[in-house]
Symmetry: C3
Subunit: 346 residues, 3 copies
């Protein structure tokens, strides 16, 4: 959709400070690849070097960068958010359909709102409820008794097991699995008995679940994602985990059973969270960190080890294995030196 | 299904020590959320604090906790296992169907037992054999020549590639992929040649394979999971891996090619096992550990680094990079002190 | 297919140095499991112990191993690559079909070459183009406007989102997801705004993408895999990543947004690559390493910590936490000793 700069500025929390309000904008682009008719943005200072030569018709940026911009300027205190809003307005909206594709397999006992779209080869079991405006792309499985809230969007081959509740405007990417049995095992004489997984999963409004991410159903109580949670791809959320509102978790994170994560947290890629612990609100975990204890204070926590050249790392690691010995040597040295000094002072 | 306490006790290896044997139990629940008619359990001492106030009609617990229980008591030497048995008896059993859904695509050359259920949009290729009581939820793909043993259960969108053998009572969760080509590459002049993956996968009886877990077929011989193996979600098992009976592996573990893992092992979430090594029976690997060498003795092995506050961790890591230098300094100090002491003693 | 040793040698860059050129070979096998009529190979010295007793009819090996071989010998400077070629010649080729299965759901606006095979329950949206010889196994989803290059092969339940370009002879394993939305989030007043993901994914010729691997579409520009890239299973490739030609990446690796990885790199299992960095050509990253900065020189880089017995590791880790203190103590010792020595010398 094309808009004028004047129209745009008003809808993206920005102020048009330089340029023609009637200039039409038809697309978004990066500073370095933009053409006339495009709007671009400058949020990360690392890209400031591209500002002078940009061919964009307008740029969204912070007040302090406005003077350096050779083209029209929309000033925003949060240029990346303003850009996100601009892109959502300008980019072609995803097509919204309604109806049920002829190849979908719907149990007679399910309920599908007439404004929803059920794509090819979807399966909807008995008792499932699909609310208004829901879009199921194709190959999705909605288990018995599950509820998909209004305007939620499931991409291809998403699996929602039985009795799961998905909120409104939830976005689920391809291959995600919500509500499969948790890893509940009781050992009896060396053999594993499965512990029936009788809870479910509740996903709050406006949450997003990445491609091939898995969220297990609870053992007795439910696994819960509160509103606005963002999960990237390939994440594992075990049974009875609780994730607070507006927490964002990057790819390949694993969260063990009954962990409770606060609101407004950010967890970096590849991190691991042990089970039965509690993480406070506004905690940041950096990438590949292992969290084994509860964290009660907001702040940044880490244990990921950055790479070295292999030869140097092998030396480091060999010394790490001897670290206890080294510390004992230092202690012995301290005593010897104290003794020697005392002796020397005699 | 509802049972009396007397009936239950006899079927869960427990002894009713307190309470009315005719009291009817209709559901299972946690100590803190139970109501009248529910049975609960106390296995993890961390939950003992909820015992006094529980509203459950009965609790499964160890002898030493019996005196503190305000309601009916079933004593068990393994309360979690007894609970698992109770839950399996009381919880509504998963529906078992039979027949072939009208939308399933079966090759004329496959064999499906009439007591099996083939759900919507399943695909069964030529030569595949589906034994009695098997349940395929929907969207499953069974490749040419594969065999699914009696009473196995495949959830939605499971892929079993060609010529794979799945045992009896195996449980496969949604999105799992069994038998895709291993990562076999030969380098020739800088380019990769694919090495044909001519082995297959054999999964033993009573195994369980988690959601979106992948198990590659062998290069020449087979990849093998012995009976009773438990794999959680998002695990990668490479070609020619061999996993011994009753070993349990938590989510996000990666196992490289030709690794051989013993029986009764437990591997924590996010661990990585290098290829071409052997792990003895009854080995425990803690979460996020990297195993690079064979382990020949039962025991617990670790290398996961627990999180610190970021500022502290950055100091730790900066010192780690200098660890070789630090060790050399300590060595130099030892020599200097020895020399100085000698000198001082002269 | 059965071939004579003479025919084989000529086609696998080998030289028949010992044995009857008319001997027929019908299968490939490992040294220890081969029978008469099989050809085997010796590439990894760890398997030399099986050479003397092999029942194979012929063995592919290096010149220096020829004298020890009791059966026919094909000498190759790269036995593993020669074996890969032999296996490809001898093993039954995967069946190539053509046509569209009756259950596939094709939009009227898609284009499918008549030599391609569209398996059961595939979905092809409007504007998608399927070129000659393409094989879609079953349950695949090809989004609107995507192009699948000639002779590419998609296994079961692969998802290719809209407007993605896949090259020729690309091999995509089950459950892989190509082109789902990247994890693009702008924070506004504590809430996450989705940044529209308007780029796409381009996969070069002869690439391979493993089972349940996910590759996100770009935010504005495209995510790119150059020709011959090999990705194993369960890998996460974030938006705007660029992977150079002939780079091979093992399972469970996570690559963050806008990382740029060179050509001919090898990345070990479970490694993590941070975003917005650049890795040179011919870099090797060992397993479970975390790369947080650009790497400008070819070489081997590591940070994975190998396992110890848990008791030893706990000591190591306790000392690691005190490493800064320990280093300060050593520094203090150095000063004290210098002072004491000086004093002693007075």
């Amino acid at each position: 959709m094309s808009l004028t700069l004047g129209e745009l500025a008003g809808q993206i929390r920005g102020e048009l400070q330089q340029g023609d309000p009637d200039c039409r904008i038809a697309a978004v682009a990066t500073l370095q690849h933009a053409h006339a008719g495009d709007i671009s943005f400058l949020a990360n200072p690392g890209y400031r070097k591209y500002l002078q030569a940009t061919q964009a018709s307008a740029v969204i940026l912070r007040q302090e960068d406005a003077a350096d911009c050779p083209v029209a300027v929309i000033v925003s205190s949060n240029p990346y958010a303003s850009y996100a809003r601009a892109a959502a307005l300008i980019a072609p909206a995803a097509r919204v359909s309604s109806g049920v594709h002829a190849t979908a397999a719907l149990d007679a006992g399910c309920e599908v709102d007439e404004s929803a779209w059920i794509g090819p080869h979807c399966i909807i079991e008995a008792g499932a409820v699909i609310h208004a405006g829901v879009q199921l792309a194709g190959g999705c499985f909605i288990g018995a008794g599950s509820v998909i809230g209004a305007d939620s969007k499931l991409s291809a081959n998403v699996v929602v097991c039985h009795d799961v509740t998905i909120g409104e405007r939830v976005n689920i990417l391809p291959g995600a699995v919500i509500g499969s049995d948790g890893f509940g095992l009781a050992n009896e004489d060396g053999r594993w008995l499965n512990v029936p997984q009788l809870g479910s999963v509740r996903v709050g409004d406006d949450a997003e679940i990445g491609a091939n991410t898995t969220i297990d159903r609870g053992a007795l109580d439910d696994t819960v994602l509160e509103e606005g949670v963002r999960l990237d791809n390939q994440i594992q959320v075990a049974h009875n985990v609780h994730i607070g509102a507006h927490t964002a978790i990057a790819g390949c994170v694993g969260i063990s059973g009954s962990a409770r994560i606060g609101k407004y947290c950010m967890i970096g890629g590849g991190a691991g969270i042990a089970g039965h612990l509690e993480i406070a609100d506004r905690v940041i975990i950096t990438g590949m960190t292992m969290v084994t204890k509860s964290i009660s204070k907001p702040g940044v926590y880490s244990s990921g080890v950055p790479a070295q050249e292999n030869v140097a790392w092998n030396k480091t690691y060999a010394r790490m294995r001897q670290l206890d010995k080294l510390a004992r040597k230092v202690h012995a040295l301290e005593r010897s030196l104290a003794a020697a000094t005392k002796h020397g002072d005699d």
